[in-house]
């Protein structure tokens, strides 16, 4: 029984086409017989047929009813409507492509934005129980933070009660020998509790958790596994050779495991190189490290902090040296820190703020796409009025017409949605590859089932938004007016399309205002003086192998490097420096100025540079002199400071000749932390140091031999763009020692143009501006298309009226005013609404702006003029058309 019914259903579906034809023939036969009878009754042939049709009650409606009886009919009706829609669309390829591209852009942008927002902010972290995972630091006076020393962390482990586990990770380099040269990785040297604290299983192999059981093992991060080991699954069990021994790869962590963010691989703390291990053991050193802690279930943040504060206080009493004012702990949820929600993250860099803006922009774009497509469908509905009227006269009900147009719109949205998902997929891939650092967690983001579901929902929504109104309208117009057009209906269509254009212009002007504000901010940021010349400069950070640990050996290596690079053809001059501006690293030193208002918070960043540095970098010497070769290795010493130093630490008093004390904070050196008193001999221009728009911090420069760094930047000034010199530069370094890394996932381990450093700092701002600018431009173009369409329709509609006016002697100006006035009116209305909305919503953008207010009058005025002017321009073509209307033809046309 069930099988029989199923069989009929299937037969019904399959045999549908054949049955359609049979039914058609059968109905024709019936109609003819009916007409024949009427004719015999005395009517003429035409009247007989009409009467037959009348008696028949409309072939179409009746056909539908007959077919609806068949098994599986509703499915088939939909399928047939869709097929019909597809055929209709294939007859109008221009319209179809325009709609699919527009919807695709809207749906694609929205899908990509959803995937990003969901992936970055919504998804749980890879760490299990992330709500109990914190980063702990010591809290000092005025909110200052520092890493606890390793001995202190050991005490924390023993004395606290609120924590399930406490782990410590110290960074050091881990240089792997490869056939292509040394690969520099940064290792996270971790205590055995680390992986348990993070509660994350490895993707491949295993991690380590036994104290000191196996020092020579390494766990790789996902990005290094992919980037440097080609994602090979047999990497587990392989051996990595370094200058200090070999290590066995025991596992690979999943993407998104970025603790700490700089770690390329994890090794047991016992594998730490001896010099670093020595620093680790010092309770007073507070070398940089990450401390991850997991609270016990049920212990809240306040209780955990109280428990830790108690222990930190005890330790400050027991070991008071350098700890008197550091009696508290700070606990930050790892999730907040990763997502930039933690206190202290500048609003500009908070992903939530950036993603919110992007979300708002794509919603606007999607709405514009829908409105645009609704306008296109209305226009097409008008053009198809006769076709629809014929169908309606043949008895297709209003519901049938709407269903049919709806199916067409569903086909369009489906195509647009497919295109959109492809677009989102490609866009996200490019984003993650080209700009991996603009957002946290980008490596984890990807189109998945949830994103596809959202795309599907968006597709349905756009089909409804963009298709329903035009379908209802076209169907009722077809029913109302029958086979003859009526001016009234056309006029109301014109009004409706005008309304859509107003909405489109309003939405577009909001986007363009946002893009304009960001563009002006970017221009302001780019106008800022950098304080150095990035063009025609190239730099490599050299991390010497451990055999150059002694200061004499290191200094000799640096001199040889400088000389070898100077010999490379195309290199003009070469300098050495411990840190470069905009490269991310800095080492602070306390500064004793001896001034009455000096405070123990007086600090500057310590820059250890060779005499060529200011010349090579293009940093101008403002007062006094730069370093000379005589300063290198000299006993007396000399210091150079920047303008910010004079302003902030010396209250703008005469700096030259004044002696100040700084501390020789070069890690790994025996003199680490020893004071150095010397006179200031020069003042140099401020460099933008941490980012392009921030205030330059105070700097103090010393000759590189006075505080010899464990690694060094070699920076070269070149003739012309430095990109072509990179291979020669790499060879020059490798010729000195093949163990010096010239590759690695961290940018400073490669020769890089200095202009890249600047570009990277502006990357996020440029990307955001470019994105919003692109959206704004697309929105503007769509709006102008809308204006063009509605103007052309208006002219077509008023052909007769315009013809009469011309015949009555209207001057061209009058006709132009008629057409352009209409377009201008729409544009002014839309722009006014858009600007009002933009003013109300501009607070959203405020955190991303620089140097201009959120209600920047220049931007607002530009948009207020731009849109009406562009709308008038778009209406020019229809207006010229109107001018050429011949009165005679116009009068005949209706």
């Amino acid at each position: 029984m069930v099988m029989g019914r199923l069989g009929r259903l299937l037969r019904g579906l399959l045999a549908g086409r054949e049955q359609d034809r049979e039914l058609d023939e059968e109905l024709r036969f019936h109609l003819e017989m009916e007409a024949g009878r009427a004719e015999r009754a005395g009517l003429d042939a035409g009247a007989a047929r009409r009467r037959a049709q009348l008696a028949f009650g409309g072939v179409e409606r009746f056909r539908e009813a007959a077919m609806a009886e068949r098994a599986g009919e509703s499915v088939r009706v939909l399928a047939r409507d869709v097929a019909l829609g597809w055929r209709a669309l294939r007859r109008a390829p221009g319209f179809t492509v325009a709609v699919v591209v527009t919807l695709g852009l809207g749906i694609g942008a929205a899908t990509a934005a959803f995937t990003l927002i969901d992936g970055v902010l919504g998804r749980p972290l890879v760490y299990g129980g992330a709500e109990r995972l914190y980063v702990a630091r010591e809290l000092g006076p005025r909110g200052g933070q520092r890493a606890p020393s390793y001995p202190a962390v050991r005490d924390w482990q023993e004395r606290t009660r609120a924590f399930e586990s406490i782990s410590y990770v110290r960074g050091d380099e881990f240089n792997v020998r490869t056939p292509e040269g040394a690969l520099r990785l940064v290792g996270g040297y971790a205590t055995p509790e680390f992986f348990r604290t993070m509660a994350t299983l490895p993707l491949l192999g295993r991690s380590f958790d036994e104290p000191a059981a196996e020092p020579n093992v390494v766990v790789l991060s996902h990005h290094v596994w992919q980037g440097s080991f080609g994602g090979a699954s047999d990497v587990v069990g392989s051996t990595l050779a370094t200058a200090d021994g070999s290590y066995t790869v025991i596992g690979v962590m999943p993407p998104g495991f970025v603790a700490p963010w700089w770690a390329d691989a994890w090794l047991p703390l016992a594998a730490l190189p001896p010099a670093n291990a020595y620093a680790l053991a010092q309770r007073t050193l507070h070398v940089d490290a990450e401390v991850y802690v997991r609270t016990r279930p049920g212990v809240d943040a306040a209780a955990a902090k109280a428990d830790l504060d108690r222990v930190v206080g005890q330790l400050a009493d027991e070991y008071p040296e350098g700890a008197e004012t550091w009696r508290e702990a700070s606990l930050t949820l790892e999730r907040d820190r990763l997502l930039g929600n933690a206190d202290g993250t500048p609003a500009m860099q908070r992903p939530a703020a950036q993603l919110r803006i992007m979300g708002a922009a794509v919603v606007l774009l999607l709405l514009i796409a829908c409105v645009n497509v609704a306008g296109l469908q209305l226009a097409r509905g008008t053009a198809r009025r006769r076709e629809l009227a014929v169908r309606s006269a043949l008895g297709a009900g209003r519901g049938r017409l709407v269903a049919q147009l709806g199916a067409e719109s569903l086909v369009l949205a489906g195509l647009g949605g497919t295109f959109g998902v492809l677009l989102a997929y490609v866009t996200l891939g490019v984003l993650a590859r080209r700009f991996p650092l603009v957002l946290p967690r980008l490596a984890e983001v990807g189109i998945d089932a949830r994103a596809l579901l959202v795309a599907l929902a968006l597709t349905m929504l756009t089909a409804l938004l963009a298709g329903l109104l035009p379908a209802l309208r076209a169907a009722s117009a077809a029913l109302m007016t029958g086979l003859r057009e009526r001016a009234g209906a056309a006029r109301s269509t014109l009004r409706l399309r005008g309304g859509l254009v107003v909405a489109q212009i309003a939405l577009a002007s909001i986007l363009v205002v946002g893009a304009g504000l960001l563009l002006r901010s970017l221009a302001r940021v780019q106008e800022l003086p950098l304080g150095f010349e990035p063009e025609e400069r190239v730099a490599l950070r050299v991390f010497p192998p451990t055999r150059y640990q002694q200061p004499e050996a290191a200094a000799a290596l640096y001199r040889r490097l400088q000389e070898a690079v100077r010999q490379v053809p195309g290199v003009v001059d070469v300098a050495l420096a411990n840190h470069l501006p905009l490269a991310g690293a800095a080492m602070p030193t306390r500064v004793l100025t001896g001034r009455p208002d000096a405070s123990d918070a007086d600090a500057a960043f310590l820059r250890s540079v060779s005499p060529e540095f200011f010349r090579v970098m293009g940093v101008r010497v403002r007062r006094g002199r730069g370093f000379t070769d005589a300063d290198v290795g000299a006993a007396g010493g000399a210091l150079i400071v920047n303008q910010a130093f004079v302003r902030r630490l010396l209250a703008d008093e005469e700096p030259i000749g004044r002696s100040v004390t700084i501390f020789r904070n070069a890690q790994g050196r025996s003199y680490f932390g020893a004071p150095l008193s010397a006179p200031i001999v020069g003042v140099v221009e401020d460099e933008r140091y941490f980012d392009v728009q921030g205030e330059p911090p105070p700097m103090v420069f010393v000759p590189y031999t006075a505080v010899l760094w464990g690694n060094t930047y070699v920076v070269a000034r070149t003739r012309g763009a430095p990109e072509t010199l990179l291979p020669a530069l790499r060879r020059a370094v490798a010729a000195i020692d093949a163990d010096i890394p010239v590759a690695g996932p961290h940018p400073p381990a490669q020769w890089r143009p200095l202009s890249d450093f600047v570009a990277q700092r502006l990357e996020s701002r440029r990307l955001q501006t470019g994105l919003l600018g692109g959206f704004g431009l697309a929105a503007l173009l769509l709006a102008l298309l809308g204006v063009f369409g509605v103007s052309a329709y208006g002219v077509a509609l008023r052909t007769r009226e315009i013809g009469v006016r011309i015949a009555l002697g209207a001057r061209p100006v009058g006709v132009l005013r008629l057409v352009l006035g209409h377009a201008l009116g729409l544009a002014v209305l839309g722009t006014a609404a858009g600007l009002a909305a933009a003013l109300a919503g501009s607070r959203l953008l405020e955190s991303q702006l620089f140097g201009i207010p959120a209600h920047d009058p220049v931007t607002l005025l530009t948009v207020a003029v731009l849109f009406p002017a562009a709308a008038a321009a778009a209406a020019l073509v229809p207006a010229r058309h109107a001018l050429r209307i011949s009165p005679l033809r116009a009068l005949r046309s209706e």
């Binding site: 059968e26 109905l27 036969f29 009746f62």
Partner: protein, 106 residues
Amino acid sequence: MSEVLQGTLDLLVLKTLSLEAMHGWGIAQRIEQWSAEALKVGQGSLYPALRRLEGKGWIEAEWRVTENGRRARYYALTRAGRRALGAEVASWRSFSAAVEQILGTT
């Protein structure tokens, strides 16, 4: 002239076809004639009914040529249709008798 009730149309069609195979137009004509033009078969319900009965397996259709040389779709009663007609007639009789009784009592 009143439209044939939806449910009774099936019965009338089966009855008509119990005499001879016939095309759709013929069925409509025959019902109107039999009822002395008191009943009108809305064509909008005739063809759906034919499809419905065909779907139930009570009638079957084949294309034949009419006496005027036109192709037409002829319907004929199946064995199951003949059985169903008996049952339908019986149930119609008891139904109409019940209605008659109610109408008669008031």
